[in-house]
Symmetry: C2
Subunit: 404 residues, 2 copies
């Protein structure tokens, strides 16, 4: 029998408990041994809930029970998760988690500790919810030097952008709707400013390139400046706007960023709508590979935690190799990052085009019938600092969005 | 040092050799040991090719060399691949393969043999080319009872259907173009009649449901009856037609089939065009998960073989658990499989609708401006045998396509 303790009985943790108990038969078959939830840790009481029979309030009960083989954490945050993870691995138990903050900050240290103890520290649920992406990066895309990862990694912002796109609504209106539906938190900062996606692209990039990408080094731009007017232009051009966590290897320089990108309808991530997530990986050998699914939600996220529990139950006493060296990768300066830009300017295109061309060279002008007193243009591929220099020479710029 | 032998120096085999040699540094880093190609087996000579230095013509040299840890096969066909696979595992070496015929027919036997020898028999490249799908099914979607797999599993037929859709061309014209481009073989039967997709959905279904799905039990319908006129209707309805390998668990009954399906533009596989493949998995816990990428081609397919080589190099002497029991799953009779049908009929809708309604009940009529002397209708959800009964009562039916 393999004994599991679940830390946290919130949305994800209760999903993990539910899946492990309701699908016990198929899970045990896939492990080749009975998988049993021995404890669930939460500070709260849940009177009448079936979890009561295994509920504990003291982590030490779990840590000191030699029968516990696997600790599955779904609490989030660094404290006490970091302390719990370290203590679990040092006690010779396996640990898996949905906690992106923990993984982004302490991933390499905890992987090294797991390797030293011949145990496992797994974190499939930390990125992309139910989408298998950590394990494919670690075990399936391993023959290639990955050159690009572009991910729609945050369901809240994708829900907002999709609604703005399809219904022409404003950011503020859709945010309120998302909050009412429970898709966005009361304080939506972590989502809409891109901080959540930032930790996730840091994790994916670290695994893709094999060394530590520090999330604090990642240029992060949210979606709060995207307006319903931007989507009038994208509609005309058969394009859309998505918040990407993106990293790329350009001749050995690694770029990483979170920013809204304008993409056309041939882009593999174009149809990733609503709260869905999608992750595109590129490399000279693999070509384009895309993973799509539910990036959040109780059961999909729980399915990823449970997959880690199953994997750890199969390898209770042997370390699954994972390459994430602690040495920090130097992230290239965003100033040198090259993109085309979509730019909106006050005024009339005919009157202002000479000024724009003097600054940007040849551009492609875009106008939309029911948007007056402004126009848009698309630049050639240019470095961010060159864009800034040129933009400083044009008056009345209202918007600029990178294009992918 | 881990020594690898590659069997077959055709398209995929030469790709495997190229990736293992050109990406040797990153591959060895991910394994934690140097990975070296010691032999390539092919009956042919390749004068001037770098492979010459490791080329052998006799499999026994590989089999009898105790330094060979991993045999990576890319020959295809059952003979001699089955003999080679068995002998390799019995000799205490690991085997991986891109050979779908071998896996569909002998998968459970070779997995059991690998388990007995504490070695591995891996086959990521046998389905979906470069798309990671075997390992995710075996290691990531393990917490759920999968209820449906729908896959665009054959690049040749998807190329043909996409061209017919986008350009309005006929099946025969596009087939000739695909043959000229090397996307279709001179004898295209295995692709266009769905036999290739049939083996692939058998493999995926076996892993999803944990017991053997015999490809010979799978109802298989190809794309040779799909015409340019069908796509005039799909265009009007914002739909498309894709060849699916599909299996589903309906209240414990497992259905498996290969057939063209009409899907709408909200379907996750709608944008899988050209030679790309896409695989959608559904379950109550995972929700929808979709995998997309290059389903064929030298390097993408090689990337999957190389991922298996890396995995086997990491686990040289321990078996990676895989649940594919030899007991055959009884596939439910296609007669009881329920779908909506798209049906085209000779004649005029007004004149003929009474006859159609007498047989099918209420239907949705579809007409297209430049298609005369016929019309189409969409049925309610009905079992295949009920469809056949109703269709026998209507004269002049020219086409029927399942809808998903």
């Amino acid at each position: 029998m393999v004994n599991v303790a679940v830390l946290g009985y919130g949305t994800v943790g209760s999903g993990v408990y539910e899946v492990l108990t309701q699908n016990k038969e198929v899970i045990s078959k896939r492990v080749g041994d009975e998988v049993n939830v021995k404890y669930v840790l939460d500070l709260r009481e849940f009177p009448g809930d079936p979890v009561e029979s295994v509920l504990v309030h003291d982590f030490d009960i779990i840590l000191n029970d030699p029968e516990v083989d696997i600790v599955a954490e779904a609490m989030g945050g660094l404290n006490p998760a970091y302390k719990f993870a370290k203590a679990t691995l040092e006690a010779g138990k396996n640990y898996c988690t949905s906690n992106k903050e923990l993984v982004a900050k302490y991933g390499p240290e905890l992987i090294a500790l797991a390797e030293k103890m011949n145990k496992n520290f797994l974190f499939e649920a930390s990125v992309g919810g139910g989408i298998p992406i950590i394990r494919p990066l670690n075990e399936s895309l391993t023959g290639d030097n990955i050159t690009e990862i572009s991910g729609i990694l945050n369901g809240t912002t994708n829900f907002i952008l999709t609604k703005m796109d399809k219904e022409g609504s404003s950011f503020d209106d859709v945010l309120k709707e998302a909050q009412a539906l429970g898709y966005a938190e009361k304080d939506p900062t972590a989502d809409v400013e891109g901080y959540d996606a930032c930790r996730k692209i840091a994790i994916l990039s670290s695994l893709a390139y094999g060394s530590h990408v520090d999330f604090e080094d990642i240029y992060t731009e949210g979606i709060t400046k995207i307006t319903d007017v931007d989507f009038k232009y994208t509609k005309k051009m058969n394009k859309s706007i998505k918040l990407f966590g993106k990293s790329k290897n350009v001749n050995g320089k690694i770029y990483a960023m979170v920013a809204p990108f304008m993409i056309d309808d041939e882009h593999p991530l174009f149809s990733v709508n609503g709260v869905k997530n999608g992750i595109l990986c590129k490399g000279p050998v693999i070509d384009d590979i895309m993973f799509y699914g539910s990036g959040a939600g109780k059961l999909p996220t729980a399915s990823a935690v449970v997959a880690d529990v199953i994997e750890e139950a199969r390898y209770l006493n042997s370390h699954i190799k994972m390459v994430w060296e602690p040495e920090k990768i130097e992230i290239a300066d965003i100033k040198t990052d090259e993109n085309k830009y979509f730019v909106r300017v006050e005024g009339n295109a005919d009157a202002k085009l000479a000024e724009v061309k003097a600054a940007f060279g040849e551009v492609e002008v875009v106008t939309v019938d029911d948007v007056t007193d402004e126009f848009a243009f698309i630049t050639n591929v240019m470095a961010h600092e060159k864009y800034e220099e040129a933009a400083a020479k044009v008056s009345g710029i209202k918007q600029r969005i990178r294009m992918a």
